[in-house]
């Protein structure tokens, strides 16, 4: 029999941890809304996405228990994000560079 190396289900987070995460998430929501009213130029989008990514990490690590997940699950999640990056980046390389060279007939 294999030993219980990864034993996610035996780990119960305290209610206090979840409350702390919730409070942080609510604070970040108010922060992102408030910051949107300030003219920061391009950085508005960067900050908005930065806060959104932070919130995503909090939800994934704590609420979705990635912290206590098996290595395989973690690998699958990171792999999934990698595919999303391929989807977004490769699509954008097309649209970002289309106008660089004149396309015949257009």
């Amino acid at each position: 029999m294999q030993d219980e190396i990864d034993s996610p289900q035996h780990h119960v987070d305290s209610a206090g941890t979840y409350v702390a995460v919730l409070v942080t998430l609510l604070f970040l929501t108010i922060l992102t809304t408030a910051v949107a009213y300030v003219d920061l130029g391009y950085f508005s989008t960067v900050i908005a996405l930065g806060i959104a990514c932070t919130k995503m990490l909090l939800v994934a690590l704590f609420f979705m228990h990635i912290r206590h997940s098996t290595k395989l699950t973690k690998l699958v999640v990171v792999g999934g994000l990698l595919w999303l990056a391929i989807l977004l980046l490769l699509t954008l390389t097309d649209f970002a560079t289309r106008t660089w060279i004149g396309v015949p007939g257009r």
């Binding site: 992102t32 009213y37 908005a48 699950t73």
Partner: protein, 225 residues
């Protein structure tokens, strides 16, 4: 190897060696499904990025026509529902039957509240003639030549929030099923995988909204204070 002659229970089906293995298997399966969902929504986020890059000013003006305060409020409601959901999972881990039911009901209430507010917002858009495809579509502050581009923003707004809301409705159905099972006493500290896996789905839908909110509601808010 494990003895496969054991009688089958919910927490240990015959095809698994250990309860641990069964649970890991369910969790992994759910994550694989969620990744297909990430790719599904990812296509829409890609479309959004490209069109926003094409028409940044139109997107900014169209975005400010949405009510950011209601959006922020609704985001908080959804985050609260995620919190109550994780508390339901925690109650499952501890085998507290009544607490599971209570937290699930709260999750359902917050989820329903989110959908209700969303419905009110959509209705407002109908009243303001901001529905893409409407003959009388008109977004204030834009010349006639840019109205079509504004329709692209609202097409994305309605498809993305609509698809998100559809996921919420599916999630609500799932919560009701979990509730019925929880009241029957199906779940215990040994077997709460359905709540856990259902929670993963609910949090995933929450994460989608975490990105939708700033991308749709909060573009260049300073233009209109």
């Amino acid at each position: 190897m494990a003895d496969h002659s054991h009688t089958e229970t919910l927490d240990l089906r015959v095809q698994f060696d250990t309860a641990e293995q069964q649970k890991d298997c369910s969790t992994l399966g759910m994550w694989i499904f969620l990744i297909t969902e990430v790719m599904f929504f990812g296509g829409m986020f890609a479309a959004y990025t490209i069109y926003r890059q094409f028409y940044p000013e139109v997107f900014a003006i169209a975005s400010t026509s949405l009510n950011a305060k209601i959006g922020a409020f609704n985001t908080c409601v959804l985050l609260l529902s995620s919190f109550t959901m994780v508390m339901a999972v925690r109650a499952g881990q501890l085998g507290k039957q009544k607490a599971i039911v209570g937290w699930l009901i709260l999750t359902l209430i917050f989820g329903g509240a989110f959908l209700g507010v969303k419905g009110i917002e959509w209705h407002e858009k109908f009243v303001e003639h901001h529905i893409p495809g409407q003959a009388e579509f008109h977004l204030e502050g834009l010349p006639q030549s840019e109205q079509g581009h504004a329709q692209i923003f609202f097409s994305l707004y309605f498809s993305m929030t609509g698809l998100h809301a559809l996921h919420m409705v599916v999630g609500a159905g799932m919560l009701i099923w979990l509730l019925l099972e929880a009241r029957k006493g199906t779940f215990s500290a040994k077997y709460y995988t359905p709540i856990d896996v259902g929670g993963l789905y609910w949090h995933f839908v929450d994460i989608i909204w975490i990105f939708l909110f700033p991308l749709l509601y909060l573009i260049d808010r300073h233009l209109k204070v």
